[in-house]
Amino acid sequence: MDRLPRWADLALVPLISLLLAAIISALVILAIGQDPWEAITVMVQGSLMSAYGWGYTLYYTTSFIFTGLCVTIAFHAGLFNIGGEGQAQLGGLGVALACLFIPWPHWSLALIGASLAAAAFGAAWIAIPAWLQARRGSHIVITTIMFNYIASSLMIFMLVDVLRPPGQQDPSTANFPAVTHIPSLDELPLFNLIFTKPVPANISLLIALAVAAGVWVLLWHTRLGYQIRAFGKSEAGARYAGISATKITMIALMLSGALAGMMAINNVMGEAERLVGNSASGAGFIGIAVALMGRNHPIGVVLAALLFGFLFQGGAELGMWTKIPIEMRIVVQGLVILFTGALDMMVRMMLTRIFALFRNPRPVGAA
């Protein structure tokens, strides 16, 4: 029936969804006997009101951009990659191997090499589920979930038995050589005018933004993107047009895996500077929510990643400065996902009715 104007569809619906999530979150905080106003103040203070806070928020954002794009590209091929978590961990392995075993002359080359290794490892990790989907019809959702568990076991094995330096107790690799240290934002010209204290956000943020632009070009301006989107919309149509299902499934999923893997240049190379257990720490799953909220468009993904970056950093601050447990950030994230994803239609229908009220009897004012 009557449709929403585009601006309402793109901006108003997510805003109202967020507002609803915030209200319910406030009620939950009230219910555990804490002050919601204090909570929101601490969250905003700690994540957005100082350069230092932004340094963390943007660090998380960078990871979420990569994993959000990972889900986005698979989504356009009509495939749901839930394995971003495992692919990101394998990406970390790729980064670690590249940094530890190749004598890089300069950080810039190390960054390029590590990015390629991360992408290759992420892509390789999804290659088996992708092949099973393309040739055997095994559902990608099931196989990628299973591969998350396998990735996790593999990483434990690698860190405990293979990569752990002798004598070290903690299951992680040795520290990467100093030459592979990539600049964080406080070490980059111009950015260091804003970020004066050391922050974890690093140059991979710029790479993430460039990759987001690249994904946009790929999807809407290349033949490959055209074929991915056509296949995603209609498999039967793709067969008519002579678009190979096997080829597109493999390519789209491996690109998706590569994007998840590339997240490791942010957290492993840019922040930890060594590979530790469970390196992706849930960012692979957050990517699903980011893509959902970002409407599977790179611009939306970047904005949604920023929101989740804020929630992550703000949530950590909650745990540090208030009596509200840090787990509250999981509740808030859950509510955000619930409202922006699952209950999106509810808000949309409500708004459609309200707009129709204004529109129908006689157009009231100018929109």
Binding site: M1, R229, S234, G237, R239
Partner: protein, 515 residues
């Protein structure tokens, strides 16, 4: 000031969607106890008008009178209360419910179903006896034929005591026999004093079954006439706004060299059933070979194999060169490179990506075309949009907006997008499946003309259609398919529907086969 002898009277109904005026000052009066036809091309505003009458849309202005009383219809519940029943083109039945359960759905009384079920069973029996509307009340919907499902929809409306029955394109999905039965039912309902509004674009049905007919064109009601006092030609002219040729004009064919040669083409489906049982045929340049047959006798598989959508065995040559039927070189891209254009039978399922814009659809299947590339990496979307605008103009696609999503075009205009894309490729061989299914008269004439123009340019055309009229008027030779085989060839000039009908049913004990 209204007359109570009219079941429905609409006065000055207007409805706009944004800048599009879907209905403009519509006036119509339907006398009680008549069958009233509403015809118009796709997009003429018929469906909008009926949606207003059934409470799906609210008119911007105008009034509705039921039996002379002004009756606002804000929602479908009010429409039902006013005695209006609607039978949609796409049925709204619960597949795994029984007929009885579907009938009482939304009209249940009390907490327990038993009482309403029992009451419904009695009423149903009565209705079945009165109107020749017999269906097994305990059958599941999914087990019923399309014709029977439609009867359930009619019963649903009658059960809710509808006095006015609106049917939207009711014969689109029916076989000719089922359609005849439907019209007998409608006559019966009329004799019992019900009023029936029949929306269709099939002139034959209007002429055979209605008392009065209203013609819509581009949102306005251009005329209401007594059916007995008009003719199909006159109605077609009113609908389209110009003279329309209901018969195709075409000169004799001048066939050249053999373009496509098939020998012993066979296809097994995934259940191991043989769908094509050794098809051999030849098509020459500049001729149209029409494949007649009841749907589901292997025509779809034949098109799919030639279009690169299905693997087959056998031998095929295109202009003397081998055409692989499986493995490398048998996909849709290879077929297009070889010069085979394909208008698929199901445009929404295969021929278009409905969510894609028109310009994206113009590249569909031809996305590797060098004309559409800016460089090795980037597609030239601007060139593609310009090309689309040009094709939309040539093929009179309405509205001519390249950025509009395919799903927002009417069926006929969607087909024109597919046709424009495929016909403009300068093919050697053109595969056409059901070119005018669900397409309105003006567009049918246009598409037929284009097919013949391609033939005259020397293209070999393989035409598959379940419409015998279409096969007979377009083809230079007719092959009849039955059960995956070609039963024989006929000359359209000397054969008739009866003879073809027998072949289509698999009966061949007539004359010898022509090769």
């Amino acid at each position: 000031m209204s007359d109570t002898s009219f079941a429905i009277e609409l006065k000055g109904i207007s409805k706009a969607f944004g800048p599009v005026q879907a209905n403009k000052d519509i006036n119509i009066a339907v006398p009680k106890g008549t069958i009233h036809g509403i015809i118009g091309e796709n997009g003429a505003g018929k469906s909008t008008l009926m949606s207003i009458l059934y409470g799906f849309y609210k008119a911007d202005s105008g009034q509705i009178f039921i039996s002379g009383k002004p009756t606002p219809i804000p929602d479908s519940q009010s429409a039902i209360r006013a005695g209006i029943g609607m039978v949609f083109q796409h049925f709204k039945l619960v597949q795994n419910f029984t007929v009885l359960e579907n009938i009482i759905l939304g009209a249940e009384e009390g907490a327990m179903l038993n009482t309403s079920l029992a009451r419904a069973r009695k009423t149903l029996k009565q209705l079945a006896d009165d109107y020749e509307l017999d269906v097994d009340p305990d059958a599941l919907i999914e087990d019923l034929s399309v014709g029977h499902q439609q009867r359930v929809e009619i019963l649903k409306a009658l059960y809710r005591q509808a006095d006015i029955l609106i049917l939207d394109e009711p014969t689109g999905v029916l076989t000719p026999a089922e359609a005849d039965h439907l019209f007998r039912i409608l006559k019966g309902l009329k004799e019992q004093g019900k009023t029936i509004i029949l929306i269709t674009h099939k002139l034959r049905e209007i002429m055979e079954s209605t008392d009065n007919v209203s013609v819509m064109r581009r949102g306005t009601m251009v005329a209401t006439v007594k059916t007995a006092e008009t003719s199909p030609e006159a109605l077609a002219e009113l609908m389209v706004g110009r003279k329309v040729l209901l018969e195709v004009e075409k000169g004799p064919a001048t066939p050249g060299e053999t373009v496509l040669k098939l020998e012993d083409l066979r296809i097994r489906d995934e259940h191991g059933v043989e769908r094509l049982k050794g098809i051999s045929l030849e098509i020459r340049a500049g001729e149209i070979l029409g494949i007649a047959g009841v749907a589901g006798n292997g025509q779809s598989e034949l098109l799919a194999a030639l279009g690169g959508m299905m693997r087959a065995t056998g031998r095929a040559t295109l202009k003397g060169a081998a055409l692989p039927l499986s493995g490398a070189g048998s996909d849709g891209q290879s077929r297009r490179r070889a010069g085979i254009a394909h208008v698929p039978e199901d445009r929404q399922h295969y021929g278009l990506i409905l969510d894609f814009a028109a310009w994206e659809n113009i590249a569909f299947g031809y996305h590797n075309d060098p004309d559409y590339q800016k460089n090795a990496l980037i597609m030239d979307n601007a060139a593609l949009k310009a090309d689309t605008a040009r094709k939309m103009e040539t093929y009179d696609v309405r509205p001519p907006i390249p950025a509009l999503a395919a799903k927002n075009f009417s069926g006929g205009n969607q087909q024109k997008i597919v046709v424009a894309r495929e016909f403009e490729q300068d093919p050697v061989l053109l595969l056409v499946g059901q070119p005018t299914r669900g397409v309105d008269i003006g567009a049918i004439e246009f598409i037929h003309k284009q097919i013949i123009a391609l033939r005259d340019k020397g293209v070999a055309v393989l035409l598959v259609s379940v419409e015998l009229d279409e096969i007979m008027s377009l083809s230079d030779r007719i092959a009849v398919m039955f059960d995956g085989q070609i039963m024989g060839y006929r000359d359209p000039a000397t054969t008739n529907e009866r003879e073809l009908g027998l072949l289509m049913a698999g009966i061949t004990d007539q004359k010898g086969e022509a090769a």
